[in-house]
C-alpha cells in the first residue's frame, strides 16, 4: 500500500481559522501552536485570502540534501522522517525548503516535520486539505 500523503485541495476555500494548525500541534499532547507543521497566513492582508503551507512530500527533498547528520531520511511515498537523536538543530532544512514548509519547535530546538498523518484533515471544515 502506498504511503499516505497530505494534499492541498484549494487554498481559496481557506477561511484562516487555523484549526488545522491547532490539530497538528495537539497531536503532541499540548495545546497552542508550537508543534504545528502547517502554517496559514494571509496573502498580504486577509481581504485577498490565505496561503496554506504544508509539506509537499517531495520525491527529491531539498531538506534532506542539506542535513549534515542524515537526521532527515527519505520517507516512502515522499517527504522525510526525522531522527531526533541525530538532529543537531542547525536549521539548514528550514532554510532549504523552497515552500517554507519546515517549521521550528522552539521548545526542543528541532525542526517540525510533517508525518502526513492526516489528523489536520479532520479539523478542516471547508475541505482545504485531504490525504491521498
Amino acid at each position: 500500500m502506498p504511503a499516505r500523503r497530505l494534499e492541498l485541495v484549494d487554498p481559496d476555500l481557506c477561511v484562516g481559522c487555523m484549526s488545522c494548525m491547532f490539530a497538528c500541534s495537539r497531536r503532541f499532547g499540548d495545546s497552542g501552536l508550537n508543534y504545528s507543521a502547517i502554517h496559514v497566513r494571509s496573502v498580504g492582508g486577509v481581504e485577498r485570502g490565505f496561503t496554506v503551507i504544508v509539506c509537499r512530500a517531495c520525491d527529491d527533498p531539498s531538506c534532506a540534501k542539506v542535513c549534515p547528520t542524515s537526521a532527515l531520511r527519505m520517507r516512502r511515498g515522499g517527504g522525510v522522517t526525522l531522527d531526533a537523536k541525530l538532529c543537531i538543530g542547525c536549521g539548514y532544512c528550514v532554510r532549504a525548503c523552497p515552500f517554507g514548509a519546515i517549521f521550528w519547535d522552539g521548545v526542543n530546538d528541532k525542526p517540525i516535520i510533517c508525518t502526513h498523518c492526516g489528523y489536520c484533515v479532520d479539523f478542516c471544515p471547508y475541505g482545504v486539505l485531504r490525504v491521498m
Partner: protein, 587 residues
C-alpha cells in the same frame, strides 16, 4: 489551583511615558477569575484612579485573554478595558481577529498600557520583549488600512500576529474612535481609539508561537472535538456561518424592530434592498474566520469601480459587513443602497471610527437639521436621509472638525444634543449611541443598565423576541432576568469566548472543558463566579461615577411603536427603580 500554563499569569506592563516595561506574575488573578473581563476589572481597579480624565496620560488600558485562548475553538476575543472618553465611565470592548491568540502566543495573559508618549510611537511585542518604535511618519496618514500594510512588511510573525492601529479619528481624539485590527475587526465601541490617540500610541503589533501545556491530554482531545463539532453543527451558530448577522435585517423589519431614520420608524421600506440575502447575492466575496474559530462569520463584500479618467481601468475593494453597521449606516440613515452602506463602512474603517456611534450621530444631525435646530452654518453640507455621498463627507468632517459643531459632534451625540438641542431625538444610553434593536422594553432597559454598553452584554433584544406574542414579564422579573443573564456572560467574557458561541459553551460544557486544564469548577460555582465578577465590575462603574438614578431615557423610544407595542414609560421607570435597588444596596 495553580495554573498548568504558568505563562498565562504573566502581565506585561508598558509605561509609555518612560518607554519601559516589566512583567508581573499574577497567578492569584488568573486562577481566581480565569482571565478576560474578570482579570481586567481587577487590574483596572488596582491601576486606575477612577476619577481621571479619560484622555489624560493617567488613563490606563488593560487587555486580557483567558485560560481557554489558544486551547479551545472560539475563545477568540481580546477584552480591552479602560475609562471611556465617550461616556466618562467604564469602557469595555472586545475584538476578534488574531488579537487574543497573538497575546497568549507571545507569552502573556494580559497587557497594561500606562502613561503617554510625547511623540507618536508604536509598540512591537514579540519573543518576550517590547520595542518602542517611532511612529511620527505614520501619524496623519490618511487611511488606517495603509498603516496595516506598512506594518505587515516591517514586523515579524506573519500569520501569527495581530496588527492593531488607530486611524486619524483616534489621533484627533474623536471620542468614538476605534482600534482596527486585521483589516476587518475592531475594538469598536466606547472610544479606545481616542485613548490610544491621547497616548500617542499609533499601533501595537504582537505575535508569537508557543506550546500551552494541558493536564489531561486524552480528556482535552475528546472535549476539543466535541466543542469543534458543535461550533459547526449547532443550530445556535448556524446563522453566523451562513448569511451572517446581516440575516437579522428582514426578521427585525417584519416585526417592526429595525431602527429607521433616527428611530422615527422601526420599519424600513428599503429593508429588502439591504437584507443579508441581498448582500450575499450581490456582493459577498469571501468569508473568513477569527484565529481558532471554525465558524467563519466574517462576511466580506467586494465593490468594483471604474476609474473615471482612464478607460478599462477598474479597482476592486473589499469591505466587511455585519448587521450593526448595516443598521447604523443603512436603515438609521435611510440608506437603501448596498453600495452606499459599503462605502460608509469603508470610510469608518479608513478613518478609524466606530460604525454604530457614527451612524447614530449622523442620524441625530440629520433630524436636527430637518427641524431647523441646526443649519448649514453648522453642518457645512446638507444632510438628507438616504444621501450617503453627503454622509461620507460628514464622516470626514467629524474627524477634521473644521468648526465648533463638528468639534462637539466628535464628542458624541449626547454632548452635541446638550449643546445644540433636539435631545429627545438623541439616541444615546448612558452617553453611548444605541445598537440596532428597537424590539421592546428589554432592549432599551438593557442598554441603560448593561455593564458593557455594547449590544451583546445583555440579552434584552432576545428577551423581547422570546416574549413576542406571550405575556411580558413584570419590570422586576425582567430586570432580574437581564441581570442574571449578564452575570453569566461575565463568565463567558472572562474566558473570552465569542458570544456567538454562547450556545455551545453552556455551563456544563465549560465545566468539562476546564477539567483537562486542571481546573475543577462545577456549574453552580461558575454561575457564582459570574455574579461576583458582575458585582466587581458594577462596583468599578459606580466608583467611576455611574449613577443609576440619573439615567436619561430618550423620549423617542416611547414615541415609535416597537414589536411589543408602544413602550410604556412607567414600565421602564419601574424597571430602572428595581435596578437601582440591586445596584446600590442600602448601607
Amino acid at each position: 489551583m495553580p495554573l498548568v500554563d504558568e505563562q498565562l499569569a504573566r502581565v506585561l506592563r508598558v509605561d509609555l511615558t518612560n518607554k519601559r516595561y516589566r512583567v508581573e506574575r499574577r497567578d492569584d488573578l488568573f486562577s481566581r477569575y480565569l482571565g478576560g473581563t474578570g482579570v481586567a476589572v481587577q487590574l483596572l481597579k488596582e491601576n486606575l484612579n477612577p476619577r481621571v480624565d479619560p484622555l489624560s496620560p493617567d488613563n490606563v488600558v488593560v487587555m486580557a485573554v483567558g485560560v481557554l485562548t489558544g486551547v479551545y475553538p472560539a475563545a477568540s476575543k481580546l477584552v480591552a478595558m479602560f475609562k471611556s472618553p465617550l461616556t466618562g465611565n467604564l469602557g469595555e470592548s472586545h475584538a476578534g481577529g488574531r488579537a487574543a491568540l497573538a497575546l497568549r502566543m507571545s507569552g502573556f495573559g494580559a497587557l497594561v498600557l500606562e502613561g503617554s508618549s510625547e511623540t507618536p510611537i508604536y509598540l512591537s511585542v514579540h519573543d518576550g520583549r517590547v520595542e518602542f518604535k517611532d511612529a511620527s511618519a505614520l501619524w496623519g496618514v490618511r487611511s488606517s488600512l495603509t498603516i496595516g500594510k506598512v506594518l505587515r512588511e516591517r514586523e515579524p510573525w506573519p500569520g501569527l500576529r495581530s496588527i492593531m492601529r488607530i486611524g486619524r479619528a483616534g489621533e484627533r481624539l474623536v471620542r468614538y474612535a476605534s482600534v482596527i485590527l486585521e483589516t476587518y475587526r475592531h475594538f469598536g465601541r466606547l472610544g479606545l481609539g481616542a485613548v490610544w490617540g491621547s497616548k500617542r500610541l499609533k499601533a501595537l503589533v504582537i505575535g508569537g508561537r508557543r506550546a500551552v501545556p494541558v493536564a489531561d491530554v486524552r480528556g482535552y482531545r475528546e472535549i476539543y472535538k466535541q466543542i469543534f463539532e458543535e461550533c459547526l453543527r449547532s443550530p445556535s451558530t448556524r446563522k453566523y456561518h451562513e448569511l451572517g448577522t446581516a440575516e437579522n435585517v428582514m426578521p427585525l423589519n417584519e416585526i417592526g424592530g429595525l431602527p429607521t431614520r433616527n428611530l422615527r420608524s422601526a420599519r424600513f421600506e428599503g429593508a429588502e434592498l439591504i437584507s443579508g440575502e441581498r448582500f450575499a447575492k450581490e456582493s459577498l466575496a469571501r468569508r473568513i474566520a477569527c484565529a481558532h474559530c471554525p465558524i467563519a462569520c466574517v462576511h466580506i463584500a467586494s465593490i468594483r469601480e471604474i476609474y473615471p479618467g482612464e478607460k478599462y481601468f477598474y479597482v476592486t475593494r473589499y469591505i466587511s459587513y455585519d448587521y450593526e453597521p448595516i443598521y447604523a449606516l443603512g436603515s438609521m440613515l435611510g440608506v437603501s443602497e448596498i453600495e452606499g452602506i459599503l462605502k460608509l463602512i469603508e470610510q469608518t474603517d479608513i478613518l478609524g471610527l466606530d460604525a454604530i456611534s457614527s451612524g447614530v450621530a449622523l442620524a441625530w444631525a440629520t433630524e436636527a437639521f430637518e427641524r431647523g435646530v441646526i443649519s448649514e452654518r453648522e453642518t457645512i453640507v446638507r444632510p438628507e436621509w438616504g444621501d450617503w455621498r453627503t454622509y461620507l463627507k460628514m464622516l470626514e468632517l467629524i474627524v477634521d472638525q473644521p468648526n465648533d459643531f463638528y468639534g462637539v459632534l466628535a464628542e458624541g451625540t449626547e454632548r452635541a444634543s446638550e449643546r445644540y438641542g433636539c435631545q429627545d431625538c438623541a439616541l444615546t444610553f448612558g452617553g453611548n449611541e444605541m445598537p440596532g434593536y428597537h424590539t421592546g422594553p428589554a432592549s432599551h432597559i438593557g442598554y441603560l443598565i448593561g455593564l458593557r454598553h455594547s449590544h451583546l452584554d445583555n440579552a434584552g433584544y432576545s428577551l423581547d423576541q422570546r416574549y413576542l406574542g406571550k405575556s411580558y414579564p413584570d419590570p422586576d422579573a425582567l430586570v432580574d432576568e437581564l441581570v442574571e443573564e449578564e452575570s453569566w456572560r461575565q463568565v463567558l467574557t472572562s474566558l473570552v469566548i465569542c458570544l456567538f458561541a454562547r450556545g455551545v459553551y453552556k455551563p456544563e460544557m465549560i465545566s468539562r472543558a476546564l477539567k483537562p486544564l486542571g481546573i475543577e469548577i462545577d456549574e453552580e460555582d461558575l454561575r457564582a463566579l459570574g455574579r461576583e465578577i458582575y458585582r466587581e465590575k458594577l462596583d468599578l462603574k459606580i466608583r467611576m461615577g455611574f449613577d443609576p438614578s440619573r439615567l436619561r431615557v430618550p423620549r423617542r423610544i416611547f414615541e415609535t411603536p416597537s414589536p411589543q407595542g408602544r413602550i410604556d414609560e412607567g414600565y421602564v421607570m419601574r424597571a430602572l427603580d428595581r435596578y437601582r435597588r440591586i445596584a446600590v444596596p442600602p448601607h
